[in-house]
């Protein structure tokens, strides 16, 4: 009896991990990259700009974060991360390559100043210094001119390629030496997302530099997402979880379990972690084709999407969905209704991550949901209360 998990993002991988840990046989299937691969490196359960989240990180989530070797263990207080928008924002947890400013409060942070498009260290230092948290904690930021190994030639490299350099141990050492010697050699160093596409590269640079050192948040498509994917693939290779690439087309409940095209076999439970609108799990429908609904699942399944507490049913406009009247938020609220075990209205069919309605579209929430779905799948079949 195999459980099928569809989706290789935070929710799917967390579900696969939790199922494997409970001794279940798992097939993890996915195709392409979704919101997880585009994340910033910060993990929160609720939106960071809302009220603070008082809930501690649960033991199993903490274990999962440790298993996938790219995140720092969650501390008792929130981390404080720098964004390239000039903000210092809290985060419940973070990618290890990012610099947590919380333990550095009150100190002077040197901002690595190299010639890069979009990286104006002086301006960023000014913005961060002026932010509420920095003023309150008397933390200061200052641009510090640094010449990286190979200097000039790097300024035209795309961000990802520059980051990839740090995966080369030789270059990482050279970078560590340069950064270690920069300025007074002591003050913490904040740099852009340049410290490797693989987990561990940042640590190598840091160990060589012998000073606190780390990145700002990544932009979508930046190194943080790559590092998650690399950590996932490393874990999968040793986990015993079977992996298959492919786009799920149809989930069909039968007497003996679920048939899921195009994957062969019969599955006792299915965890859908195919993402929301960003990941492509939910499609927004508009245009002249009389699709009938505003949103639809990307695969055929006996499930109904919900939006604003109601089922997504026939759209009254003849030309389909109208985001102006639905509101832009609809693309983040639409999803499936699930219970505490992430069980959908169909027994044996679970949903996690951005596919779930009215949950924050955050990394930690997806991980929680994936682990809950695994728990639900192990609990045996139960139906959701309508």
């Amino acid at each position: 009896v195999t459980v099928l998990v569809i989706g290789g993002g935070f929710a799917g991988v967390a579900a696969a991990w939790a199922l494997a840990r409970r001794g279940r046989e798992v097939l993890l299937a996915w195709q392409g990259a979704g919101a997880s691969a585009l994340y910033s490196g910060a993990l929160d359960r609720q939106q960071w700009d809302g009220p603070p989240d008082p809930r501690p990180v649960s033991r199993d989530v903490e274990e999962f974060l440790q298993t996938l070797d790219c995140w720092a263990p969650p501390g008792t207080v929130a981390a404080r991360l720098a964004t390239s928008g000039g903000l210092l924002r809290p985060a419940r947890c973070r990618d290890r390559a990012l610099l947590d400013l919380e333990p550095l409060r009150g100190r002077r942070i040197d901002v690595v100043d190299i010639a890069r498009p979009g990286w104006d260290a002086a301006e960023l230092a000014r913005a961060w210094s002026a932010s509420h948290w920095a003023r309150q904690t008397r933390t200061q930021f200052r641009a510090l001119g640094v010449v990286l190994p190979e200097g000039e030639s790097l300024s035209s490299l795309p961000e990802g390629e520059l980051a990839a350099r740090a995966d080369d141990p030789v270059w990482a050492h050279a970078l560590g030496d340069v950064l270690g010697a920069a300025g007074d050699g002591q003050a913490p160093l904040l740099c852009g997302p340049w410290l490797g596409l693989l987990p561990g590269s940042a640590e190598r640079v840091r160990a060589r530099a012998r000073r606190p050192l780390g990145e700002t948040l990544s932009a979508p498509g930046g190194p943080a997402g790559f590092r998650f994917e690399a950590a996932r693939d490393t874990w999968l290779a040793r986990s015993g979880v079977r992996v298959q690439r492919g786009l799920a087309e149809r989930v069909l409940p039968t007497a003996g379990g679920f048939e899921v095209a195009p994957f062969s076999g019969l599955f006792s439970e299915v965890v859908l972690a195919i993402g929301g609108v960003v990941g492509g799990g939910i499609r927004f429908l508009a245009g002249p084709v009389p699709a009938g609904r505003s949103f639809a699942l990307s695969l055929a399944a006996p499930l109904t999407l919900r939006l604003g507490g109601r089922e997504v049913t026939l759209e009254s406009g003849v030309l389909g969905a109208d985001l102006q009247s639905l509101g832009r938020d609809a693309i983040e609220q639409v999803g499936l209704l699930v219970d505490d075990d992430q069980l959908t209205q169909t027994p044996g069919l679970f949903a996690a991550g951005e596919l779930v309605a009215d949950r924050p579209r955050t990394a930690l929430e997806a991980i929680y949901a994936g682990i809950s779905a695994a728990r639900g799948a192990c609990r045996g079949r139960a139906s959701i209360n309508p």
């Binding site: 919101a35 979009g118 948040l217 932009a219 245009g287 109208d322």
Partner: protein, 599 residues
């Protein structure tokens, strides 16, 4: 010797000869013409340069073949002045060849084509005025060859020739020229009152800077109300009644797509028989336009889904690929057409009219009513002539002879890019917007190579250009920079450039980094709101991604406080404004993000 002239000379020396209210194309044109004729000028713009119809139109100085049958004067003057504009700002013009297919509908399709052919024979007579090419009658096969995406059976069609232009750049050019000749230009500065003496004559204006909150007076001999659709509202500031500067406001919307979908513009008939079009415009394709009476907020005109679908449906009938294309935004403006009760909006005159409010007991106050982009220069000339007559001056306009800033000489964009060490596409776009002035922008790179950084990768826009338009073209917000440079207008909707641009604007205008972040959020929110009516399946994923990414970088756009009072488009209050994200969360106000269909 006992009239108001005496008072003017003896008692009060006015600050300037002419106050122009409105930074649209008419106001900018008058400011330039007046300074060229030796008058001193001050311009006040409540929002931003080209904020209204001047920056939200079809982007053409077309000859108006539409008007040929019932308003040939408009066609003539439009074509003539189109030629003039081409001479004074050659860098701003680009050829837009049009195709007009005639579909095999009914028995008279062939006749319709013959009539169309004859009609364009007539239009060809005007083409030399604007250096346009004569039309050609095309067979169905020829049409298909030129634009393989055309659908439906046709009996053939015609081609004709128009000129495209960036209306914002045209306005900016006129104002820069005026300013270099001494004019004072204030944007984000609203006129709160048109000051009049006891005898009714005009003596200047009171204004308020919406960004700083500072107010003041500027006295003048003449006040020109060049506020387009706002004209009746502006006239009311001088105590006139709306009837005395009346327009019929006609809303027009456009939808733009992430790339150039065709090489030719295609003119098609909408379901109600109206003429609409799909045009390649700068680096994208645009469809337009509607014409409906508008009685909403002029400072916040937004295209609706219904309007967008009306246009897409019309274009899809002839060019079905539009249904698969990715719409990335809309713009909407309100035409200030001459007032007339009765005709449907398309039938309204595009003529213009100078109203001398001496007839209403307010000598010295003029309103510019009506007009269109293509004939702005003539309208400005007529207005300035009236002012000169009042002042007893006999100087003729030379605005059709002297180049606009950047139009003095042609610059080779490829050589420019090579010399500056920037991408050819960046050089070409820069040269388009600034003409010879692009040399001044790349000069900045020699002083600081870092300014070669690309701030907006979609357009692309260099940091040097962002800084240049802040320093030399009155840009004071991210929105202003976007209007002048097309920063953040592309497929990513500003997700990758707004924050950086906000930081630059804040730094250069002496504001805090927090102000910069707020401006960026405000820009992103406004752009998203304008996009919503056009978002289809392809753009929806980008919307979701940018929501997430903007929140990661800057916090939620939905928790920006908006000032309740009448404070400029940026929402930057004089008293510090809203709190920053870390502070916002502590006031206990829940972010408003659980608004759904059930509400």
């Amino acid at each position: 010797m006992d009239d108001s002239m005496t008072i003017e000379v003896a008692g009060e020396r006015p600050d300037v000869d002419v106050v122009v209210i409105g930074g649209g194309v008419n106001g900018a044109g008058v400011a330039r013409d007046c300074t060229q004729r030796g008058l001193s000028v001050a311009v006040f713009e409540r929002n931003d340069i080209a904020f209204g119809a001047s920056g939200n139109n079809s982007g053409m100085i077309h000859g108006g073949p539409r008007y040929l049958t019932y308003d040939p004067n408009v066609t003539y003057s439009s074509c003539l002045d189109s030629g003039h504009i081409q001479r004074i700002a050659p860098h701003l013009l680009f050829r837009i060849p049009f195709l007009m297919p005639v579909h095999r509908e009914g028995r008279s399709a062939k006749l319709a084509l013959t009539l169309l052919d004859a009609f364009f024979d007539l239009y060809d007579k005007y083409q030399p005025l604007k250096h346009g090419k004569p039309h050609a009658r095309l067979t169905a096969d020829e049409l298909q060859q030129l634009e393989p995406g055309l659908a439906g059976r046709t009996v053939g069609g015609v081609s004709f020739d128009e000129w495209g232009i960036d209306g914002v750049r045209l306005c900016v050019g006129n104002l820069v020229d005026a300013a270099e000749a001494g004019a004072e230009v204030r944007v984000h500065t609203t006129v709160t009152e048109i000051l009049r003496r006891e005898d009714g004559s005009v003596r200047g204006v009171r204004y308020r800077d919406l960004l700083t909150g500072q107010s003041g007076e500027r006295t003048s001999k003449v006040v020109v109300n060049a506020t387009g659709a706002w004209a009746p509202l502006t006239a009311a500031l001088g105590g006139l009644v709306a009837d005395q500067a009346r327009i019929r406001p006609g809303k027009g919307i456009h939808v733009f797509f992430d790339r150039r979908l065709t090489n030719y513009a295609i003119a098609v008939r909408a379901i109600d028989g109206r003429q609409v079009f799909l045009e390649p415009w700068q680096n994208m394709s645009v469809i337009g336009t509607t014409d409906t009476d508008y009685y909403g907020d002029l400072d916040d005109v937004v295209a609706t889904t219904a309007e967008v679908r009306y246009l897409i449906q019309a274009v899809a009938r002839v060019f079905p690929a539009i249904l698969e294309a990715r719409a990335i935004g809309t713009w909407a403006g309100v035409r200030p057409t001459l007032y007339d009760w009765g005709p449907d909006p398309d039938g309204l005159s595009r003529e213009h009219e100078v109203v001398d409010h001496a007839a209403h007991g307010a000598p010295g106050l003029y309103s510019m009513i009506g007009g269109k982009l293509a004939s702005y220069r003539m309208f400005a000339e007529a207005m300035t002539d009236a002012i000169c007559t009042r002042f007893g001056m006999q100087k003729a306009s030379r605005t059709h002879l002297t180049a606009l800033p950047g139009g003095e000489e042609l610059v080779d964009p490829i050589a420019l890019a090579e010399d500056a060490g920037i991408e050819a596409i960046a050089g070409a776009r820069l040269e388009y917007r600034h003409g010879a002035r692009s040399l001044r922008i790349v000069e900045r790179l020699a002083r600081d190579r870092r300014e070669a950084a690309v701030v907006c990768p979609c357009e692309p826009v260099l940091e040097a250009e962002v800084r240049y338009v802040i320093a030399h073209e009155w840009a004071q917000t991210v929105d202003d920079v976007s209007r002048r440079t097309r920063l953040g207008v592309g497929a990513c909707g500003g997700m990758r450039c707004a924050a950086r641009c906000g930081a630059i604007v804040a730094q250069m205008t002496g504001r805090s980094p927090l102000d910069g972040q707020r401006m960026a959020l405000d820009f992103l929110e406004t752009a998203a709101r304008r996009r919503m009516s056009a978002v289809g399946p392809l753009q929806a994923r980008q919307e979701a991604l940018s929501l997430a990414s903007i929140r990661a970088e800057l916090g939620s756009t939905r928790v920006i406080e908006r000032p309740s009072g009448n404070l400029g488009p940026t929402g930057l209050g004089p008293s510090g404004g809203p709190a920053q994200p870390e502070e916002r969360q502590s006031d206990g106000r829940p972010p408003d993000r659980v608004r759904g269909a059930a509400e």
